[in-house]
Amino acid sequence: MNNRLGVTAVIAAFALLASASLQAEQPRDLEQVMQPFLKKYCVECHSADVQKGDFRVDNLSPKVGTENTPQWLEIMERINSGEMPPEDAKVRPKAEESARIVEWIAARMKEGEAARMAARGRVSFNRLTRDEYVNTVRDLIGVEYDAKDPGALLDDPEWHGFERIGSVLTLSPSNIEKYLTAAETILAEAYPDPLPANAKPAPPFGGSKPAIVEEQINERHRERLRELGLLDKVRFEMWPGDIFRGSSIGQLPEPGVYEISYKLSGLRPPQGRAPRIKVYHERLDRVLFEQDIVADEDKPITVTFRAHLPKGHQSIFVYNDVPGPSNTPRSGRHGEVPFISTKIGRIPWQMKLTDEAGHARYPFLIMDSVSWKGPIIEDYEQQVRDDYMPREEGNMQQAREGLAKLAKRAFRRPVTDEEVSHYLRIVQSELEAKETFRNAVKAGMLAILNSKSFLFIAEGDENASRQTLNDWEIASRLSYLLWNTMPDAELFALAEQGKLRDKAVLEQQVARLLADARSQRFTDSFATQWLRLKKVGMFQPDKNLYPDYDKALESSMVGETKAFFGEVLSSGLTLREFLHSDWSMLNLRLAQFYGLPEGLVSDDDFQRVSLPADSHRGGLLTQAAILSLTSDGVRHRPVHRGVWVMESIFGKSPPPPPANVNPIPTNPTGPKATLRQKLEAHIHDANCAVCHAKIDPLGLAFENYDAIGRWRTEEVTDGVGENPKVTAAGKLPDGRTYQTADEFKKLLVEDLDAFNYTFIEKLATYALRRSMSFDDRDHLKAIAAASKAKDYRVTDIVTALVTSDLFQKR
C-alpha cells in the first residue's frame, strides 16, 4: 500500500514537471542530488563487485541526458515505479527522496533531447525486408520473385518480434550475392532473350485434362466403360494420405505466374475432419496451395490458385493431407476397376469408402480434372516492364530515359542526371565488351537494383541535419506501413506536388490505402510482429501428447488471430475487442478444435462467428495461437505467458532473469502436481519472487488452457495419483483479483489506457522502423489522447498515428 502511494506521488510530481519548466530551478548538481542517493541506495547491489541484474551504476557517465541515456532512463523508471530499491533493501528512500531523483533525471533527459537528436546520424538506412523486397519488385518491374525458395533470400533478424527495425536488419556479403542473383533472375524474366529470327514461336500453353486419362485405364475396363457410356465419368478417389501425381500437362514454356485449377469433390464424414487438398512442388520444396474441401460427390467444385513457377518440367504432388487409417496394406490400393461413384461398390478386398447410409467413412477427395493457364502477365506488369526498356535498338537516349524512370521509382525519390549517368556508364562499358544492347541495358538495371538507394529505405539528408521527413520519405513510410511496398503513382504524384505533409491529405490517403486489398499485408504483417505469431509452432508440440496437432491446425490458429485483427480494423471496432469479445473469426477446423457446436462454420474460410456463452473464448488472449506460442512443445508455460502479456499488452519488458541463480532442483517422482504448484513451490528465493510477483499473475489466468490452447479443468502430468485440478485465480500487482481468464480479461478492459499506449507504441515502432525512446513520449501521449477521443477505434488510431507529428519525424 505504502509503495503504491509513493508511486502516485512520484507520478504526480513527474506530471507537474512537464509543465513547470519555469518553476523553481531544479538542482543541477550531480554531486548534490544524484551521487548521495546512488551511494546510499544503489551501489551496494549495482557496482563492479555485485552487478545484480547485470546492471552497474558506478560506471555511468555523469553527463546525464546525453550519455548512457538508456541506463539513466532505466534507473528513472525503476525508481519511479517503486521497484527500486527493492522492498527488502536494508534502507529504502522516502517517497519524496525518490520523487526528487526521478524529477532530476527527467529534467536532464528533457534538456538533452535536442543534443541526442542532433547526435543521431544524418541519414537512417532501413534495409528492405524479404517481404518488402518481393512486393516492391512486383510493383516496380511486374515480376514475382520466389524469395523463400531454397537458395533465394535469407530470413530477416527480428527485434522483439519486429522484423523491420533498421538497426537490426544487417547486411552481409551473402545478402549482396543473393540480391545480385535475385535481380539477375528478375530481369531475365522481365526481359527474356528475344527468339532468333528464324525460330518458330512456342505453341500456346494451357488446357485441361481429366485426372485419369484413357490410356491409364486397363483395356478391359476401358472398353466396358466405353460401351456403358461412362468412360468420361471416371474420377480419381483419394483417401487420407493418398497422392495424385498427374497434375502436369506438359513443360512450362517460360518462368512466370501460372493459374492452376482442380475440379474435385470432398466428402467429410459426419462430425469428422474435412479432406484437405495440398499441392506440393517437390523440387521447389514449396506448398503451392492447400485448403479443406467440402463438396458433395455429385456437386464438385473448382479450386483455383496462382503460382510462380520456373520454366520446364514440374514435380507436383497433390495430397489428401488429412490423417486416416493406414493405407499400406493391400486394401488401401487403387484397384484396376476405375472409380466412378461411391454408389458403385468397390472390389471386395478394397477398403470401404462409405457406410451403409452412404456417408463417407473417412475424409476423402474425388478428383475430376486439372487445368492450367499461363504464363499470366497482367497489363500493368507488361507496362512497367516496357517503361524501362528502350524501344529502339541502340538508342542511348532512350536507354537513359528508361534507366532514369527505373531509378526514380526504385529509389522512391527524384534522381539527378549525374546519378543516371553512372548507371548509363555500365551500359556503355557492357557495349564495349561486345554485349548486346538489350543485355547492356539490363546490366544498368541490375546496378540500380543493387544500389544502396534501392535496397535501403533512406531517411534524411547527407548534406544537412534534418529531423523531419520530406514528402518522398513520407510517401514511402506510409506505403510500406499499410501496403508493405513502394508508393504507387498517386502517392508519388502527391509527393511531387509537395502535399504529403498536409494532414488532411494524409488522412484521405490512409483511408484510400486501408480500403485497398493490399492493406491485408498490414493486417498480416503487423499482427504477426506485434503478437509474435512466428513463435507459433516454433517448438513443435509433442506428437504423443498432442496427436491432433498438425500444420493445418497451426495455420488455422494463426489465421484466426490475423483475421481477427483484420476484422477489428476493417469493421471500425475498438481496442476492447482485442482484450475481450463475444465473437471470433473461425474456420471449420478451428471451430471443431474449440469444441463449438456443429454447423457454426462450414468450410475453410475464416468467418465471423458469435461465440456461445460457454465457449471460453473471445478476444486475443484466449485464442489458440496466443496460448500456444509460449509453450515448449510439451507443456504450457505460465511464466512465458505472463511475459507475453506484459510485453504485448502492457509494453513492458521484465528484467532478464538474474544470472547465476541456483539450478532448479528436479522432482520427478512426487505426487502429481500442476506446473503452477511446482512453480509456486520454488519461488521462495526473494530475488526471484520480486519479479515473478509481477509476471506470473498475468500468465496464471490461463491455467485452464493447455500447451496448444485446449480448454481443460485438470492437468495431465507426471507423477503418482489423480491428475490435479487447475486453478486460474490470481491477484494483480495492484491488488485486484480474478478467478478465471474471463474475469482477468475484464480487468484488462478496465485498464484500457495502459493498453492503448502500448498498442500505439507498437504501431509506431512498426511504422518508424525503430524503437520508441524517451524523446517520443510526448508524441505518443498525444496520439493516445486522440485515440481516447475516438473511443479507441483502431482505424482512427492508425489515422491518428499517420497524421501525427511523430509520423513525420525521423
Binding site: 547485470d54 543521431r120 546520424g121 544524418r122 541519414v123 537512417s124 538506412f125 534495409r127 531454397p150 537458395g151 535469407l154 527480428e158 527485434w159 522483439h160 533498421g166 538497426s167 544487417t170 547486411l171 552481409s172 556479403p173 551473402s174 545478402n175 549482396i176 550475392e177 545480385l180 553512372h422 555500365i426 557492357e430 546490366a443 546496378a447 543493387n450 544500389s451 544502396k452 535496397l455 535501403f456 547527407e462 548534406n463 516454433m538 517448438f539 513443435q540 509433442d542 506428437k543 504423443n544 515448449d632 512443445g633 510439451v634 519488458s653 521484465p654 532478464p656 532473469p657 538474474p658 544470472a659 547465476n660 541456483n662 539450478p663 532448479i664 528436479t666 522432482n667 520427478p668 507426471d718
Partner: protein, 458 residues
Amino acid sequence: MSNLNMKRWQLGRREVLRGLGATIALPFLDAMLPASARAAEAIAKPKRSVFLYIPNGVNTLTWQIEKAGADYEFTKPLKSLEKHRADITPISGLHHPMVLGKHHNCEKVWLTGANVPGDGGAFRNTVSADQLIAEVQGNATRFSSLEMAIEGTSLAWSKDGIQIPAERNTQQIFNMLFGVERDSKETVRRRLSRRGSILDIVADDAKRMNNKLGSEDRSKLDEYLTAVRQVEERTRRADEWLNVAKPAVPASEAARLQRKLSMAEAGEYYRLFYDLMVMALRTDSTRVITCGIGSEGNTSGIPEIGILQTRHGLSHHNGDPEQLRRLTETDTFLVGQFSYFLDQLKEHREGDTPLLDTTQVLWGSGMAYGHSHGNANLPTILAGGKSLGYKHGTHLDFNLPRIGQYNVADATAHYQICSRPVDTDARVSNLLLTMLQRVDVKADTFQDSVGVISQILS
C-alpha cells in the same frame, strides 16, 4: 582409393600456384605477398579447422568423465570415441564468463564469447574464431570458409559481428563445392565481370554519400560497403578459380553425396553432412568449416533410436528418469556420428598423413545443464590436429583440482558445477585462442582469454 581425388587435385593446386604470379596485385592475396615462399608453404601444408556445435547441452550426469589424465574411462555416451582415444582430448570445466545464466544465445556466442543481453534481445556479436582463421588459412582455397548447419543457424560471425549465413541444403552445398557450371567458362567470366563493374558502380555511389556523412552515423552504409567490397573480392576470386576445374568427385560418391535426405532418417542425414565436410577437406576446397548440428529450439527427434521429442524438450527433463535416459541416448547418438566423422578423417590421407592430423576439430555445446540453463562445465571435445602440435590422449579437467572428485549421484551438486564455473579462469576463449595459434593466426588474446591451454600442446 581414398587418395584418388587428392592426386587429381594436386595438379589443380599447381595451377593455382602458377596463377599466383599473374594475379599478385589482387587485394585478397595481400597476406601472401611479403614472401611468396611462405604462400607456397601455406598452400602445401594445409592447416584445417572444423567446429561442430551441439544444442541444449547433454545429460551431464551420464556424460561426466570422472577421472583426469591418461587413464580415464569413457562414460556411456562417449564410448564410441574409445577407438579415437589417442586423437582426442575431452575437456571439462570450460565456460564463457559473459554469458553465464543467459541461455538464449548460446549458439551465437559459442565461437565468439561475446556478451549478450539476458533477455534474448538483439545484440551486436563479435568475430568468431573460425573467421579469424579463415583470414589466414582461407586464401589458398576456392572457399575461404564453409558455413553449414544441419538444423539451426550459423556459428560464424564476421569482424563486424554480422552473422555469416549457413547453408542447410545439402544439394546446394554439393553444387557449390563440386557442381559443374552449366554455362561456358566464357559466359561465366562475362557474368562475373559484369557483376564486378556493377559492384564498382554501386560502391562508388555509396562512397560518395559516405564521404559527406559524419563518422558516427555511417554504420549501415559502412556495412553495405563492406559487404559490397567483400563480394567484389569473392567475384575476383571466383574469376581466378574459373581456370581451375572444380574437383571431380567419382560418380559413385557424387551420387551418394547428392541424395535428398531429411531428418526422418537422422543418422543418414547427419552422415551426409559429415561426408560433405570430409569431401570438402579432401579436395582442399576449404580449410575452415563450421557446422551447427542442431538448433537450440527445435532439433528434431531421432526416429531410428525411437526418440521423437525435440532435443530441447528432452533437455527440460525435470529429472524424469525416462527423459534423462532418452537424453543420454541422443547424446550417445550424436557422439556416434562425431566418431564416424573422425573415422573418415583418419581414413583419408594426404600423402602419408591422415587428414585428421592436419585438421583440428572442436565438438561441443554452449549449454551444459539445459533443464535450468546451466552453462558452465560445457561439454567439449577437441580432436585431431597432431601435425599442428597437439598432444592428445588425456581427459583435461579444470574442476577436479578444486573439487577433488565428482559425485554425480548427488544430481543437485553436479548441476551446480554445470551452472557455476569451478575455475573462473577455465574459459572457452582460452581454447579458442589455442586453436587460433595452432593455425598461424597472430593473436595473443581472444575475447576474454587469460592464456593458452598448454596442457594439450606437444
